[in-house]
Symmetry: C2
Subunit: 395 residues, 2 copies
Amino acid sequence: MSALDEALRQLRARPWRPVVLAEPVPVDALPTPALLLDEEAFDRNLARMTAYLGARGKGMRPHAKTHKCPAIAHRQLAQGAVGICAAKVSEAAALVNAGVDRVLITSPIVDAPRAGLVAALARDCVARAPDSAALDIVVDSATGLDLLKAAARSGDRLGILIDIDVAMGRTGTRDLDTILELAESAATAPGLEFRGIQHYAGQVMHLEGRDLRRERSLGLWARVAAIADSLAERGFAPALVTGGGTGTYDIDCEVAGLTDLQVGSFIFMDQQYRIIGGARGALFDDFEVALQVVTTAISQPRDGLITVDGGYKAFASDAGSPWPFDRQGFEYRFAGDEHGVLVRKGDAALPALGERVRFIAPHCDPTVNLYDWYWVCRAGEVRELWPIAARGCSW
Amino acid sequence: MSALDEALRQLRARPWRPVVLAEPVPVDALPTPALLLDEEAFDRNLARMTAYLGARGKGMRPHAKTHKCPAIAHRQLAQGAVGICAAKVSEAAALVNAGVDRVLITSPIVDAPRAGLVAALARDCVARAPDSAALDIVVDSATGLDLLKAAARSGDRLGILIDIDVAMGRTGTRDLDTILELAESAATAPGLEFRGIQHYAGQVMHLEGRDLRRERSLGLWARVAAIADSLAERGFAPALVTGGGTGTYDIDCEVAGLTDLQVGSFIFMDQQYRIIGGARGALFDDFEVALQVVTTAISQPRDGLITVDGGYKAFASDAGSPWPFDRQGFEYRFAGDEHGVLVRKGDAALPALGERVRFIAPHCDPTVNLYDWYWVCRAGEVRELWPIAARGCSW
């Protein structure tokens, strides 16, 4: 058994189905820090995005790197999502294991064991749902594509998209010769199907102000459109042109050639997205805050501050500090791995010992990745637990 | 079933025993990002700390918040550790579930369900090993202590330590009247046993230069000693005076009244600790780097940089960037949740596509918390997988 096989064995042993609690419990009865999903706000966010994209003829291909939760992926597909994105092969494996069979892996791989796993996942999906399943992966180098070609068998239907980078400098390629060669190579390889191109501009998502995001994003998409035209001229017209995200969902819909959007964070929202509204504190509030981290005030070492039981292990710290959800008058400061200190601002009363204090995550994706399940709240009470079955699946 | 019961049910279903691989595999065959434990370096670190503290008559009470791994806790106890620290009640529950029965919970709690769980864990431990078990928890308020008193039954032996804060302002109390009242209250309550005091000075651990750390740490311990004297005068002499950490292990041993040290990171080491050696780049290298994160170079969007498959979900980002482990000539920059970009410095060659690149974690504790298992390497090959069974146990 290879290391990858053992890792998969560990992964497949994890529960992924929602657990209905015997009785609903109040939010204040949760052991904290607790990741709380407001199911009603989540459903409204999903319905809103579905309607917006649907009205403009665009597909929704939500990213599971945000939620890492097969139960949420199933709900997104039930609402009409054209497929689910997975950042890594293991994330895709967790989804496929839970019965999700329309998955696009959005990051390239360049080693043989994972190429073999991708081909096996594609086979599993297609065997399960011959007419509707699709397991696709992006490539940006001949190295990666050659490994996938070697792993696929004649008759497989492993979908290949080319990852296009026109400005970001993370993954993808902007070299037209490489792009054309990859397309031809994928289109002619047994077991592979050339599906199209992906373009993701992470650096644009969090620019403040819609006008600035619009200018930058449409400028990049114009360059991607030129690449798509070149592919079409050579006979490799991309059936899929996929990309975009929550920060440009209402901008990228203007791009004629774009087929579907890889939106992720809109289901939850976080402080990093809320503040992109623009100048003078305008909030980006097209979507509701559906995700909260609930903490408890556990210690008061001195007047004017109080300590809560969530620190770096409760909130990812790459995008600033947690933001108060439903009360004002203090600011949160990280105080190590396990704690945060609330410092009073002005005259407001601080929470008392034992009181729950809720926060908006600074950045939802890596914060979700710290937890093993969502406590799912409906009508003010927690009724279900949804396992975050792809938690830790960064490999 | 309460929310806490359901959370415990999820926790107890997790595997915690080491898995021996059918055949050893090379490090380069791991799916990445991979958390790699060099078992030989780990053992040397553990032996070195054990010998150092033992020679000075101090106990070792290693902190599980660093490793979150019952297999490691068992190994620490087998080497003579006087007990294991847990940051949170759930971390303690994961340890007790795996047969660890000498646990000190180092953070106070102030709610009834968790007080009930602490009392239940104490009962479990004592029932399992009446002569040697101990389940202790710190308190810093009457609110918390009263909940524990209500949860304990006559005949229980739940150990209580008072969390002393003389300077840090996170958890603990510095008010002598409060301290004396808590001690008396704990000492006289049915089912509770007053064990002593804890003092942790996180802000001192990472000061650069041993002289500075020594001056600060001994100054704080002098204030703690005065509190211990006051307790003794009232008839509540602390049997345990516990605290300290990796950054002051060789300093705090000078403190006469200190009984045991809560060292954590020394087993792994991280860049945040390595740089505290002092001026002119001197490294704190009393302990070896036994923990690495292995990534793969997966994309080269342009000359002079290459992208690896580990970002914010592979490295906690509260303490700077990952540090190259075994090769030089580049620097790592975070590039989102799933990727990092290596930027060439000078003329050195960058890793090639598909090559593995190893890093020292900026901060080991929250980085470990991102993974579900260690790949354990001995004699250059990976032979075992050790589950990080308390991962995510921040509640």
